[in-house]
């Protein structure tokens, strides 16, 4: 097992070094004429107003949390998924029981998923609501 992971380690080290190496080769070849106008932020020729480091929409944060929860769920399912086939083929009679265990696990989280869906939390545009009285 360590042999395979050693290869991965070497790969990661090379991966980290590759970009600086390419840029270093490029440095010997490319021109370097900085000028203050050239280094301004590109906004199609307009002068850029203010910094772009401003407060961002909260939706992105909610999406990241949703991802994390579902990701943990999927990861917990992976070891079960690996042995699932063996349970189905060898242990006679236990197939449906194991299926029920897995289905229960997924089903519990699906309640939350359905709740979020019904309550409209997957809608990206939430601030613009249809106004009935006008």
């Amino acid at each position: 097992m360590y042999t395979q992971f050693a290869t991965i380690l070497i790969f990661l080290i090379i991966g980290v070094c590759m970009v600086p190496l390419i840029l270093l080769v490029g440095k010997l070849l490319r021109p370097h004429n900085p000028d203050p106008k050239k280094l301004t932020t590109y906004e199609c020729g307009e002068e850029s107003v203010g910094s772009s480091w401003v407060q961002f929409n909260l939706r992105f944060y909610v999406i990241a949390i949703l991802f994390l929860i579902f990701d943990v769920e999927v990861i917990l399912m992976f070891p079960v998924g690996v042995t699932f086939r063996q349970w189905m083929t060898s242990q006679a009679g236990k197939g449906l029981l194991v299926f029920a265990e897995v289905a229960l696990f997924i089903g519990i989280l699906l309640i939350g998923f359905a709740y979020a869906w019904v309550k409209g939390d997957f809608e990206w545009i939430k601030t613009i609501r249809p106004q009935k009285k006008s």
């Binding site: 790969f11 480091w53 961002f56 999927v74 399912m77 086939r85 997957f122």
Partner: protein, 369 residues
């Protein structure tokens, strides 16, 4: 067996090569993979993309450098190498430099577990496919950082959108991969292929697997920010989004990894669903290993490149989604579908004791599997 081990075994009796330690073989294989496969392949994929775009839009496409313009990608790479490297004065310099490194690391590291043929895989990890999901998740981090560090409104919008999109679509992708894992019962990339056969590809195992394969392909398109899901880098709205401020070689790395990732997606789809290196209905396992490996590699590449072609075809045919439509598609269509595929496949496995449609048919006809 992995490629470094295989090569070491092969050259064991040779006078000079036999005494080289294994890690040097690994190093050579990694460098070979990067310089002889990843970089040229990404370049040729760019050329193909432009040529296909030309054909679809009834124009010629690149045709000046070399016959049929086939050397265009070398000219492009050289041009990008000679371009001035600009870091905007307003940018956060350290993060600006860090971002392409992260993206390269995440995009390239996935190649360590792609099984091109038997024994032709860099690292035969027993968690192969899971490792692949883990390392590619680094790309999202690189994209946010790139968008943020540029201090450009378009870049920031692009980076944030890219991260949210990758993160959302990772759920259906992971669920579909899990569905395939359920059928094969292993995470090892080589073993996943070996558990299939020329007669029973995973995609035909049951109807849910077929849907899972389609959902995987669509979700993976979105994860790689390809049209029709290329909202983060929409040229006409965001001036190519997170890489607006990147120039020269740094931009080239973003571009390279985008195409490298496209190939990874196709290779994973081939491995998980399309029977990897197996030909349809032709069993070549009786051939000698030296003859089999090139054939297997060719079959694997053919399948992957066909999928890559479909990707390009889609890009030049379909218009772009809107952000809200995209998120709706992910959470209200793809995620429910992939959950349904997972449960459906699990139920099928429980019902038929793990047998798929081809095996059921063969046993009905009285053939040995």
């Amino acid at each position: 067996m992995s490629l470094p081990e295989f090569l070491k075994d092969l050259f064991e009796s040779w006078p000079l090569l036999g005494s080289i330690p294994l890690w040097l073989y690994s190093l050579a294989c990694i460098l070979g993979l990067l310089f002889l496969f990843l970089f040229p392949f990404a370049g040729i994929a760019v050329y193909l993309e432009r040529k296909i775009a030309g054909d679809i839009q009834a124009r010629i496409g690149p045709n000046v450098v070399g016959p049929y313009g086939i050397l265009q990608w070398i000219a492009d790479a050289l041009k990008l190498l000679l371009k001035e490297d600009i870091i905007p004065a307003a940018a956060d310099k350290k993060l600006f430099i860090l971002s392409p490194m992260l993206i390269f690391l995440g995009g390239a590291a996935a190649y360590a577990v792609i099984p091109f043929a038997e024994n032709v895989i860099l690292a035969n990890l027993n968690i192969g496919i899971f490792y692949l999901i883990a390392v590619t998740s680094m790309v999202a981090l690189g994209l946010i950082l790139g968008g943020w560090a540029s201090n450009n409104k378009w870049s920031l919008l692009g980076g944030m959108r890219a991260a949210a999109q990758i993160v959302s679509f990772e759920i259906p992708v992971a669920l579909c991969i899990l569905t395939a894992v359920l059928v094969t019962g292993t995470l090892d990339m080589t073993q996943i292929i070996k558990n299939q056969s020329p007669y029973s590809w995973n995609i035909f195992h049951n109807p849910f697997m077929f849907i899972a394969a389609c959902v995987y392909y669509i979700a993976a398109l979105a994860e790689a920010n390809r049209t029709p899901f290329d909202i983060p880098e929409a040229d006409s709205e965001l001036v190519s989004g997170y890489n607006t401020e990147y120039s020269g070689m740094r931009f080239a790395i973003f571009f390279l990894i985008e195409y490298a990732e496209c190939f990874v997606i196709c290779a994973v789809a081939t491995t998980l669903f399309l029977g990897g290196w197996y030909l349809p209905f032709i069993d070549i396992s009786g051939l000698a290993l030296g003859l089999r490996i090139p054939i297997e590699a060719m079959v694997f590449m053919t399948k992957a490149v066909c999928l890559l072609f479909v990707m390009m075809w889609i890009r030049w045919t379909l218009p772009r989604y809107r952000v809200d439509q995209l998120m709706k598609l992910c959470w209200e269509v793809l995620v429910p579908f992939s959950f349904a595929c997972l449960l459906g496949t699990a139920f099928w496995m429980a019902l038929f004791k793990g047998k798929g449609i081809p095996e059921l048919i063969y046993s009905l006809l009285g053939w040995g599997s």
